[in-house]
């Protein structure tokens, strides 16, 4: 009697194709990912039901929290010319190295007169240094007013686009602090801007 032979199959599977797919996806995610950047001013943004994402280009963010105001502009090329323009306005000349360093900082909150010292700090020292925030008042010559104005000018010159603004406020911040920023924006006829919120799905 002939016995039925059951062929023994190997349990090992060819992983090559799976590995290919996994790395393809990995590459895709690395390239599309915009990693969370550490904010120098940590704010807890209020929640809302709005589902519109914040645009990535030609965007300036004004961060308000703990009584301080920080300014951020997207795009290294814009930041470079922004510092040049601000240097002209406050009659301080920034060296090319300083401009290069400034172009790598997405958000900052130092007055113009201490900006040079701040840029001279090493990366570690920059993290330790508590930035005092940009001076704001209701006149049309405050530092924040000028930063906003010059940022709009350089965006118009370099990208030929209107700069969009977003206010990123801490939820515990008192309303007058935010109202002050809105006043500064409205003084230069920026009447359309966004408020950054996190998505609230609970309601």
């Amino acid at each position: 009697m002939a016995r039925i032979k059951i062929p023994r199959k190997s349990t090992a599977i060819d992983m090559t194709a799976m590995c290919d797919v996994a790395f393809l996806l990995l590459t895709f995610f690395i390239l599309t990912a915009k990693l969370k950047q550490e904010d120098p001013l940590r704010v807890d943004v209020p929640a809302s039901t709005v589902k519109v994402n914040v645009p990535d280009v030609d965007m300036a963010t004004i961060t308000v929290g703990h009584g301080k105001v920080f300014f951020g502009l997207e795009g290294t090329d814009l930041r470079k010319s922004l510092l040049e323009e601000i240097g002209k306005k406050y009659s301080t000349s920034f060296t090319p190295e300083e401009i290069q360093k400034f172009s790598l900082i997405p958000t900052f909150g130092v007055p113009v007169n201490t900006l040079k010292q701040y840029l001279a700090l090493s990366t570690d020292d920059k993290k330790k240094y508590t930035q005092p925030g940009i001076p704001v008042d209701t006149t049309t010559n405050s530092e924040l007013f000028n930063w906003i104005y010059e940022a709009r000018v350089v965006t118009k010159n370099l990208h030929n686009k209107e700069l969009r603004f977003a206010i990123k406020g801490d939820s515990r911040e008192q309303y007058p602090e935010i109202g002050k920023i809105i006043d500064v924006l409205q003084k230069q006829a920026v009447n359309k801007f966004s408020l950054i919120t996190s998505l609230n799905q609970g309601k």
């Binding site: 990912a33 943004v45 039901t49 994402n53 309303y175």
Partner: protein
């Protein structure tokens, strides 16, 4: 397959020394594991860090002649007080005492929907929508401000504006211990 060939290469018969033939196949399991781990990390890191933008349009302050006359009977004024409190009244200030309300489904949202219906019913069309004036006091927080704008978006109120608060309205908040 997928393992390194560790067989002796045919033994030592015949005294001839044969070089070992190494398999070109490598076990990819660990590599796949690592790749998927990284994919998971990148998926998490990207989708969690997406802030949302609430677009707002404000009246142009530089132009003085664009103010529309607002019929007082169609306005509802929402005052933001201390400790996340709200007080609201319909019509001109002082005519009706303010009602204290709170955020949430059965609070201001219900009020907005009801008042909107009432005003639409009591006014002849076509422009009979309710106009909401948001007045944030100095004691209110940014969170309240965003919440009330969000409620206005949810309830689909056609027209709303943010206006500076006046001293009599601060008085109203004080009377209700909200300032």
């Amino acid at each position: 397959m997928a393992e390194l060939d560790t067989s002796g290469g045919g033994g030592k018969k015949g005294g001839k020394v044969r070089s070992k033939k190494a398999s070109t196949r490598i076990d990819l399991t660990a590599m796949v594991d690592l790749a998927f781990l990284l994919i998971t990390f990148f998926i998490m890191a990207t989708t969690l860090a997406k802030p949302k933008a609430m677009d707002t349009i404000w009246p142009d302050k530089t132009k003085k002649d664009v103010q529309l006359p607002v019929p007082e009977s169609r306005t509802m004024t929402v005052l933001l007080g201390a400790n996340h409190s709200i007080a609201w009244y319909v019509g001109p200030p002082g005519k009706t005492p303010p009602t204290v309300d709170n955020f949430g489904k059965n609070g201001i949202r219900k009020t907005l929907v009801e008042k909107n219906k009432e005003i639409e019913a009591s006014h002849p069309g076509p422009n009979n929508y309710m106009i909401v004036l948001v007045k944030a006091s100095d004691k209110s927080t940014y969170k309240d401000f965003v919440s009330i704008l969000d409620e206005l978006n949810i309830t689909g109120i056609q027209s709303h504006a943010v206006v500076a608060i006046t001293p009599p309205e601060i008085g109203m908040l004080k009377d209700n211990n909200l300032y």
